[in-house]
């Protein structure tokens, strides 16, 4: 007999993850026993899970980095902050789903899959090595594939899910292939050790490392929809149920950019010259595609998909700056983006009415005359997305622009400024529809207190972050302190 000692690993840092996993499974079972008229309770349970997990994460947050599970998990302020953003994204996603998914079958699985996806994102943010990164990524991706295709009787939903799935699998292959080259050179999966190995690698390893880095970057770029790996985004955004579009536009992007930062800061610092060139061109292309293609869109979900691509392009400036200010800027960007994007999607969902999806720009015509409150809120979100001063979106752009200028990329910042001005055009066009056009389709809003509360909270957050950005920026800088 072989004796195997089983030292129980330190599970304390993983309590939020374990809680979310257990709750996701519990909701899956509990939903079976709920009568039809009480199916909403599984949604409430999922919302409560997010809230409790956030409380647990806050309770566990400490200024130090804690390694757990033999170096397969790391808990640092960066991960904690990113997790809070992810919980908020999932929470809002569930709130938006309440009315939208009411008539769909199998809602228990729907909310449970959202929680499993959240678990995948949480693991990604806490990944100190490639194994955890990949497993978290696959867990998140698998959940989003299914959620995108959830309305399987809707053709465009199934089509979007299939496209997303095939391209996503390809991207995972890229990622793994890149990791295999880096593993081949350094012999380790650990980010920090791989970083040291790369720094000490000889000239004969250069070609292999470059190839590994390019594939690794391509795989990660796909997940956060950086051009030219963005092709899936408009289709997936348009085809997915709108609450899932909102959910997908926050959590996965937060998790994706967090692993981007970890990989750039821990694994690839020795190759900074090379990756800066690649990322700079990708950023320019991403900003161009996002902001120019959005102009041609008539469907607002598609427009917001290109808008996401454009915003990721701006957030990439923080990655290119590769200093503490830049990385903190990415977090600031994601924080503000969470509120303004969720708010905009909440309004889009409210626009869904008898017979129409409320996704076309025409459907917004004349909103200000019927519901001035919603019109004002949508105006605030769009102004903020466009980066008009003294709303949250302005500071998001300001922080990353300043960081990238300080890092010595003045021309890149000017290019970004130019695309930001182009981008303002299509946001303002929606405002023109809302405020200056005649009503074309009768408005008939379903009253939902939770939705109204979501719109109000996000609108207040966008304004508050715009007027008092100081505390948020300080928190983000503190969160990043262990990375650099």
């Amino acid at each position: 007999m072989t004796q195997v000692t089983f030292p129980l690993p330190d599970v304390i840092p993983l309590i939020p993850e374990m809680f979310v996993a257990v709750m996701a499974m519990a909701i899956l079972l509990w939903d079976l026993f709920l009568p039809k008229e009480r199916k909403q309770w599984s949604a409430y349970a999922a919302m409560a899970t997010c809230a409790v997990a956030a409380a647990l994460t806050l309770k566990l947050a400490s200024p130090d980095s804690v390694n757990a599970f033999y170096g397969f998990f790391i808990l640092d302020p960066f991960a904690s902050y990113a997790k809070l953003l992810i919980y908020a994204g999932t929470f809002f996603g569930i709130v938006l789903s309440l009315d939208y998914m009411k008539d769909e079958p199998n809602t228990g699985e729907y909310y449970s899959l959202m929680l499993f996806g959240t678990l995948g994102m949480m693991l990604m943010t806490s990944a100190p090595n490639f194994v955890t990164l990949y497993l978290g990524l696959e867990l998140m991706a698998l959940c989003t594939y299914v959620l995108v295709g959830y309305q399987r009787d809707v053709l465009r939903s199934s089509e979007a899910a299939l496209k997303y799935f095939i391209l996503g699998s390809l991207a995972s292959g890229f990622l793994l292939y890149g990791i295999s080259f880096i593993y081949g050179v350094t012999g380790t999966f650990d980010f920090a050790k791989a970083g040291i190995g790369i720094a000490h690698a000889g000239a004969d390893a250069h070609m292999a490392l470059m190839l590994g880095m390019v594939f690794l970057l391509a795989g990660m770029c796909f997940k956060v929809s950086i051009a030219p790996f963005h092709m899936w985004t408009p289709d997936a955004y348009e085809g997915a149920p709108t609450p899932i579009t909102a959910f997908m536009s926050i959590g996965p992007k937060v998790a994706g950019l967090v692993i981007f930062i970890r990989v750039l800061a821990d694994v690839l610092p020795a190759l900074q010259v090379d990756y800066t060139t690649i990322l700079t061109w990708l950023a320019v292309l991403t900003m161009a595609v996002g902001n120019l293609a959005a102009i041609a869109q008539r469907n607002i979900k598609r427009m917001l998909a290109y808008s996401t691509i454009g915003h990721i392009g701006f957030a990439m400036l923080g990655l290119i700056a590769a200093n503490a200010d830049g990385y903190a800027g990415v977090l600031v960007y994601l924080t503000v983006y969470l509120f303004m994007n969720m708010g905009a999607f909440a309004i889009i969902i409210l626009m869904r009415r008898e017979g129409i999806q409320g996704e076309l720009l025409d459907d917004f015509a004349g909103l200000s005359r019927v519901r001035p409150g919603y019109a004002l809120a949508m105006g605030l979100f769009l102004f903020s997305l466009a980066g008009i001063p003294f709303l949250g979106g302005f500071w998001a752009k300001y922080v990353v622009f300043i960081a990238v200028v300080e890092a010595g990329h003045l021309y890149l910042a000017l290019t970004a400024l130019l695309f930001s001005a182009v981008g303002a055009f299509y946001y303002l066009r929606v405002i023109k529809y809302i405020y200056f056009d005649e009503e074309r389709v009768a408005f008939d809003f379903a009253e939902s207190r939770l939705m109204q509360a979501t719109v109000a909270v996000t609108a207040i957050a966008v304004v508050a972050l715009g007027l008092f950005p100081g505390p948020m920026i300080d928190i983000c800088k503190a969160a990043i302190s262990n990375i650099i």
Binding site: L119, D204, M207, M210
Partner: protein
Amino acid sequence: MLELGFFYMFAGLAVMAALGVVMSRNTVHSVMFLIFCFFNAAGLFFLLDAEFIGILLILIYVGAVMVLFMFVVMMLEVNFAGLREGFLRYLPIGGMIALVLFIEIVAAGSSGIFSPEGMPDPGHAAQHVNNTVEIGKVLYTRYLLGFEVAAIILLVALIGSVVLTLRVRKDAKYQNISRQVNVDPADRLRKVKM
């Protein structure tokens, strides 16, 4: 020397089988080539003293996964003419990207780090080392987190496939088991006086 010969045999056949997967016109043949490719990969694992993984590859991939693949291929009616449509139109750009990638991969693979001098022969494990035992020692300890997350991924895949395919049709006739069990003979049979 014999080992080297086996290595080249397994590796060469694996590469040829992989080419067969992408080149053959018939999808069933592709699946067959993939099975052959897995067999040769298993052979490579045997040469590395990892007989447990080699056996797993044969049992799970060849025995279970590929059989399922075969079922799926036979159930789906794939329109091969449609698949080839636009092949010529995308050939220049696709071929160019493939060529660049191929050159890069060959350059990276043949660069010094992966040369025989850079990667010395690991040799063979001692007689008493049993790789099943060695995997068992680390799977639930060092790699516990990864193992559990992989389990959750499988659970999600299961839920996802059921959610996307389960269909409760209103017009279909279902059996109500409890009613069937609780049925009373008097409901079914009526004695009539003639």
